[in-house]
Symmetry: C2
Subunit: 308 residues, 2 copies
Amino acid sequence: MNKNEIIDKLKEKNIRAVARLLTLIENEEKEAENILKEIWNFTGKSYIIGITGPPGAGKSTIVDLLSKMAIEKGHKVGVLAVDPTSPFSGGAVLGDRLRMTSSQETGIFIRSVASRGHLGGLAATTRFMINAIEMLDNDLTIVETVGAGQGDVEIVQIADTTIVVEVPGLGDEVQAQKAGILEIGDILVVNKCDRPGSDRLARELKMMLSLGEKKDWMPPIVGTTATNGDGFDFLWKEIKNHKKYLGTDRKAEMRLKRINYELENQVSQKLFTKKMVQIGTNEISKMSKKILERKIDPLTAVEEIIRE
Amino acid sequence: MNKNEIIDKLKEKNIRAVARLLTLIENEEKEAENILKEIWNFTGKSYIIGITGPPGAGKSTIVDLLSKMAIEKGHKVGVLAVDPTSPFSGGAVLGDRLRMTSSQETGIFIRSVASRGHLGGLAATTRFMINAIEMLDNDLTIVETVGAGQGDVEIVQIADTTIVVEVPGLGDEVQAQKAGILEIGDILVVNKCDRPGSDRLARELKMMLSLGEKKDWMPPIVGTTATNGDGFDFLWKEIKNHKKYLGTDRKAEMRLKRINYELENQVSQKLFTKKMVQIGTNEISKMSKKILERKIDPLTAVEEIIRE
């Protein structure tokens, strides 16, 4: 398929064209940019739910249940699972998840996202992938990411409602990462509630929240057992509550702030790249060496590079 | 004092001129830049020890003891305590710490560091403050920062040897931040070793380290009781070990990498600022709004801003 064929097929909500575009984005092909530009005003209409948490927390089972539930309630759902840490394609995980693609109502896509993409970083790339999926005309997009610290926080800045999944018994080193990840959660899920330690985990999370700053929206803690569906009605209710809390205004304001932040990043990145092309990419290294050797001070170095 | 007077006095290792320059840097005066440019090749000669940890961990007592110890061993010591979170000047903390300034051998300076300085962010500003202090011809600079998460990690990227201080009994929320902060420590100190829970904390830290990636330098864990000086001989030994481990080559390599990283940041920041001056500062907001309203796509938006 060439560019125009892909665009035509995308407008027909063709799932294979979406998969094709996702691959182009994943591989950072220039063609992806050209397509994204032309489909931009068809996108941005879905409500985005982000799901994150440590490996083994049961995120994908939650995503599967949640999307089935949403479909039953009349939503059209797209699912994107991204892995910012390891590039993979196909294999066991993908095969396992592809079950659902057969369903007419939904599309599930699993993609790796490069950390410093041609398209401008993790968040931007993921956002473009969501835009690609939105060509299916889904009103709900569920984005699943592995909770891997920094990158993860960035990636979740995309969702309208962010769900952080925790499970009991993952050991201290995981516990230790909780503080940071809690800050980004609009809803906290304690999954595998049939396991010992889940009550204690819920209490701990509650305590951590109470120690944090007071906010208009205080994240509810929802206990789930993904294997039998326990707690999912409550989870769905809380998603709806948060969506209602956001309303049109808060959602628009939030999205605008993120667009603004990202635009600033993109512009400075591109300006830097352009400058590097102009003066030669190793000019910075050469200048750094001169700074270290005290042959030039860093302030003058910056000025000289800018001026060149 | 005007610019040239300050520079002259700095060359005479005048402590008041150093204090003056620090204030200029703190207040982000243009004059600071002009002075820093001219003293650059007199700076960079001290070995930098960074000390960080949560509030209440006893960092300042450790810094005091460590600097006295270093002076006794024949070093000339400068101390910089920076607070990236709250701008303060004078007051109880400063008064309390000024005791040591009377000593001829050392200078202690407590400064707040603005998070997005004219001089280019937290790390850059702190580095310039260290350069100012280095005019005292000290061979050792101890930089103390409050462990406040992100900003803190950035600020510690300045030190040759980074010491992370932890104490028992600060509660779960502090524990939870440990994982991130451990990564930056070359030496881990468990302070207040006379308190219950210190053994357990040391064991926990050891476990966390063993779970992390294997490195050439594995951070030793040192127990101290700052109030009576216990463990400080061992701490001093470990600092010397780490300094020896770094040697001239690793230290230069590390500093070069940081200079390079920072130079890239500075250049893109300045290019962005220059662009904003050129096209008007609210061009980004206007463009963001158009992106949100789907009137332009983000890729074209970036191109248009760059082209303008």
